[in-house]
């Protein structure tokens, strides 16, 4: 199997990496040079080997599901009380540990802050 310039353009798009047109030819050569070494794997009879090995694997132990090991929430008392930050800027109100922010104007039903 070998990659073409179009393939490289496509995978660069998938990877969100901008590749200049003048770099495409050398990337095609480099990637095909590497991929040629992978072809040897197609000759190996290995079907199902990974599934068989996974079945024998003990895996990582699971922790008790009672509390996160690192606190994911802070008590509301820590974040709610001050109504103004040190620099005087107004602090948002808090309900149930969530900050209240104005409804985004881009929402179709944009209306009052809620």
């Amino acid at each position: 199997m070998a990659v073409s310039k179009d393939d490289v353009r496509h995978i660069a798009g998938l990877a969100r990496i901008g590749v200049a047109e003048e770099r495409l030819d050398s990337l095609v050569t480099e990637l095909n040079g590497i991929l040629a070494h992978m072809d040897v794997l197609q000759k190996v009879n290995s079907a199902g080997a990974a599934a068989k090995a996974d079945a024998l694997r003990t895996g990582m132990p699971l922790g008790a599901d009672h509390a996160p090991s690192v606190a994911l929430e802070r008590p509301i008392a820590q974040i709610a009380p001050p109504t103004r930050a040190l620099d005087g800027a107004p602090m948002p109100s808090v309900i149930d540990g969530f900050f209240l922010v104005p409804r985004l104007a881009t929402h179709e039903d944009a209306g009052d802050a809620s």
């Binding site: 995978i11 990496i17 480099e30 090995a53």
Partner: protein, 482 residues
């Protein structure tokens, strides 16, 4: 003559910790000696360039709160630049993370601090640990302290060079396919890749998560064992990267290998191995025999498939892990047309050539139509490679001995073909694929350049690996460095 900070730095971690514990030496003086040594060897156009960031004040501040009774009291150490710390940059050798400071410490950094060790710098590395020479660092290549025209190996080249140059007695790197053992061999120091899961990876910037390990460098086997005892074991955070096993006791006074069976896999001694490398390995094998070990010829028949498998799985996982560097959450952001334009401009500017190549390769082997042919196939063959090892252990073999690399360090700039560079990992990638522990120990020099021998052991049997390494180091003596 009484010990000085400079002399204990050379004597190693055990000597420093003992001197600090007994009040014969202040940790401050040792840290200052470490910085002075770094300044002497690291700077200038021909400097080693092995430390990317350091701050004397921050290290001296750490000294004030460090426990003087700890196992590594006052021992200065270097962490590879992809291991998170709150006090110095964690740039991964990449422009995309230049100047980035982590909001939290890695487990390894936390355990070392609790043991009294002092962070003195972050080690140079190939960008995101992708490379075998430290030439692919965005901040310039490191040089080998033994011969400055040559590479220190990689990707943890800065950490290895820091130990070899006498800046620190211990350092830490990361291993995905040999990135600790290969630079250890090139720089003439000891390098350990533990069993997958033995050392927590919490705070290690991920490259290929099923292959990544944090590894240890020491000038001696004993220093490496001490450092590894401190950083091994269950993570207090119970993160998903460490096995629920206590840190093993790795140090031993025994230098005897009676009853130990060591396999010599024929695939690691191909006809193409140079006579000089073969002779050094044979001398090391004779040393193991002299200590009572039985040497047995064995075979790991799928060894020649390890490199193709590795260079499918590692880029595939890297393409997923490095997707997070998008200009939004970390580091560099470049302007572009729209959100997608910003992503593409940021990533093409921030990533270097090798990282880009591997992300593209990984994206390709995971893409629709090619997943089964490449990625699924590689996973199946990886299982066969791992089975080779379990079959050998089942035959009564306790460990394996091989060369770490096929040749000593090469000249900076000598290798330009990507796959030729990948061949540097020929003898090391299998241990990562099979998740087994492996260590590189100096076994001699070829034309003045260090070479290493590799001991590979069954999963979680680092004790056997160290027992053999202690005996090998002891029997070879000064011959390991000549």
């Amino acid at each position: 003559m009484s010990a000085t900070p400079e002399s204990v730095l050379h004597d190693g971690a055990a000597a420093i910790a003992a001197a600090v514990r007994e009040g014969r030496m202040s940790p401050r003086s040792v840290v200052e000696a470490s910085f002075a040594r770094a300044e002497e060897v690291d700077a200038g156009p021909n400097g080693l360039n092995c430390i990317l960031s350091s701050d004397l004040n921050s290290s001296l501040h750490a000294v004030e709160s460090a426990p003087v009774g700890g196992a590594l009291a006052g021992v200065p150490f270097v962490l590879k630049d992809n291991i998170a710390t709150t006090t110095l940059n964690t740039s991964c050798g990449s422009k995309i993370l230049e100047g980035y400071v982590s909001p939290y410490d890695s487990t390894v950094a936390r355990k070392l601090r609790a043991a009294g060790a002092i962070l003195v710098g972050k080690g140079n590395m190939d960008e995101f640990a992708m490379g075998s020479s430290t030439e692919f660092s965005a901040f310039g290549p490191s040089r080998n302290p033994i011969d400055r025209t040559r590479v220190p190996g990689g990707s943890s080249g800065g950490s290895a060079a820091s130990v070899a140059a006498g800046i620190v007695p211990i350092a830490f790197g990361s291993e995905t396919g040999g990135s600790v053992r290969q630079p250890a061999a090139f720089c003439g120091v000891v390098g350990v890749k533990p069993t997958y899961g033995r050392i927590s990876r919490f705070g290690l910037v991920a490259f290929a998560s099923s292959l990544d390990n944090i590894g240890v460098f020491g000038r001696t086997v004993d220093d490496a064992a001490r450092a590894m005892e401190v950083v091994s074991g269950d993570d207090a955070l119970h993160d998903a990267t460490s096995a629920r096993l206590a840190a093993p006791e790795l140090r031993t006074d025994s230098r005897d290998l009676a009853g130990v069976v060591i396999g010599k896999p024929k695939e690691y001694f191909p006809a193409s191995l140079t006579p000089a490398m073969r002779a050094h390995c044979e001398r090391a094998i004779d040393a193991l025999r002299a200590r009572g070990a039985e040497i047995r010829d064995v075979s790991l028949p799928h060894t020649d498939l390890a490199l193709p498998v590795y260079y499918i799985i590692a880029p595939a996982e890297c393409s997923a892990n490095l997707a997070r560097f998008d200009g939004v959450r970390y580091g560099l952001r470049m302007e572009g047309e729209g959100l997608r334009g910003m992503y593409e401009a940021t990533r093409s500017t921030g990533f270097g050539t090798e990282v880009t190549r591997r992300i593209l390769l990984g994206t390709y082997v995971l893409s629709a139509g090619y997943y089964d042919a490449y990625y699924r196939k590689a996973q199946d063959v990886r299982a066969l490679i791992a089975k080779d090892f379990t079959d050998v252990w089942a035959s009564g073999v306790h460990a394996l001995f091989t060369p770490t690399t096929a040749a000593p360090a090469f000249t900076i700039g000598a290798i330009s073909d990507p796959y030729e560079m990948y061949l540097c990992d020929l003898f090391t990638v299998s241990a990562n694929l099979a998740e087994v522990p492996a260590i590189s120990v100096p076994i001699g020099r070829i034309d003045g350049l260090p070479v290493g021998g590799q001991v590979i052991a069954p999963k979680f049997d680092e004790r056997m690996m160290f027992r053999i390494s202690y005996a090998l180091e002891s029997e070879l003596g000064q011959a390991a460095h000549t």
